[in-house]
Amino acid sequence: MNVQSNKYIYTYSIILISIVAVVLTLVSVALKPFQEENRRIEKMLSILYSINVQTKKETVANDYKRYIVNSFVVDSKGEIVKNKVAFEINVEEENKKPFNKRMLPVYVAEVNNEKKYIIALYGKGLWGPIWGFLSLNNDFNTVYGCYFDHKGETPGLGAEIATFEFQKQFKNKKLFDEQKNFVGIKTVKGGADKNNPHEVDAISGGTITSDCLTKMLFDGIKNYIGFLKKGNNYGK
């Protein structure tokens, strides 16, 4: 058979492509449940992490049931939206909508008989998306804990936003100033003022990622201002 003829080349390509397509589709379909389960587990782990509960893959489902006592969806004015499941809201998609059409998930956790409110954040990093959860005390102002993660920030640099060392700085920081104006929390390059309730240290060498994180915090919390200002109504 002439291996170099056009007819052979066409037949060869078609057979090769069909085999590859079948193999890849099989692999993708077979592994999809595992990957989706990973994503669910990861989301539950992150939510729990933001209230400083660290648990394992195997126990996460139970812990999630124990700590997260309620969850609901609000709009930008802070009104509860009915018939929506907070866990299934895709924050990335919501951020693409106009400001007052966004659906915002809120998770309510109970730690030591105190209610904590967890809000979801999503933004752009240096390489790809970054996201996180921020938990607030029931004054709807003081940060109780947080969780940040990223898709592909530079390991050792921007990727450090996902470490406890960085995240523990956020505890007890405040979102609003004393006049109840929204200030948010900034990452500051070269060291933050320890007494300033709105500043944390940026990551050395990860300046761009730190700035992206500042922007994500600002934009993300802004979504929830309606909810946070009304906050006390939900507390009771």
Binding site: V20, L24, S28, K124, W127, G128, K151, G152, T207, D211
Partner: protein, 205 residues
């Protein structure tokens, strides 16, 4: 307009493919002996980049990403073909490279001879696949973002490889320890060049 310029400058300098992300290093280190060949390779890479990245963007946008097929029919909105993206991207790139190879061979035989084996190897130049993967990862939303991005990446890569070649041309005459000659010193030079390039990273656009 301002956004286009920003993306271009960012891709060319701050996020330089070769010096900030180290993509396309193989040909980068192997070819950068003389300024002339590096220039040729740089132009070839830029050309392939501005051709393939927008094309891959369109393919990704209209076929591969989750929910991309809704323009055919609403019932296809649950289909997610993004697992095929590596394969489709590299196929586009390989095809484009073969076209470039044929054009260069016919029209610029002297360039073809000096680039030798590295022309087909552009297909496996990480800078080119890398640009397509970043385009997907960073979720650019229109061609007006993707075109300046790919042009900037190409030109940035060209600048980096030409400046390294210029340094290496001078280094040939220096007294380097025998085992360090060739690739060893090239790595270290590139490392130092990259540290210098990191100073662009602080610039905010």
């Amino acid at each position: 307009m301002e956004e286009i310029l920003n993306i271009f400058l960012k891709a060319a300098f701050i996020e330089n493919m070769a010096l900030a992300f180290f993509l396309g290093m193989c040909s980068f280190l192997a070819v950068s002996n003389t300024v002339k060949t590096s220039m040729g390779l740089g132009i070839a890479v830029t050309f392939v980049l501005i051709f393939t990245t927008p094309l891959n963007f369109l393919i990704n946008y209209y076929f591969l990403k989750p929910g991309a097929l809704t323009w055919i029919s609403d019932s296809l909105k649950d289909i997610d073909l993004s697992y095929l993206s590596f394969l489709i991207f590299i196929a586009t790139i390989a095809t484009a490279v073969q076209i470039v190879e044929m054009v260069v061979e016919k029209s610029f035989p002297s360039l073809y001879n000096s680039l030798g084996i590295f022309l087909p190897l552009i297909a496996v130049n990480c800078a080119i696949l890398g640009a397509s993967l970043f385009m997907q990862e960073r979720e650019y939303s229109s061609l007006s973002q993707v075109i300046p991005f790919s042009l900037g990446s190409g030109i940035g890569w060209l600048l980096a490889i030409v400046s390294l070649a210029a340094i290496r041309e001078k280094i040939t005459y220096s007294n380097i320890p025998e085992p360090l000659k060739g690739p060893g010193i090239a790595f270290i030079t590139t490392g130092l060049l990259a540290i210098a390039f990191m100073s662009f990273m602080g610039i905010q656009l």
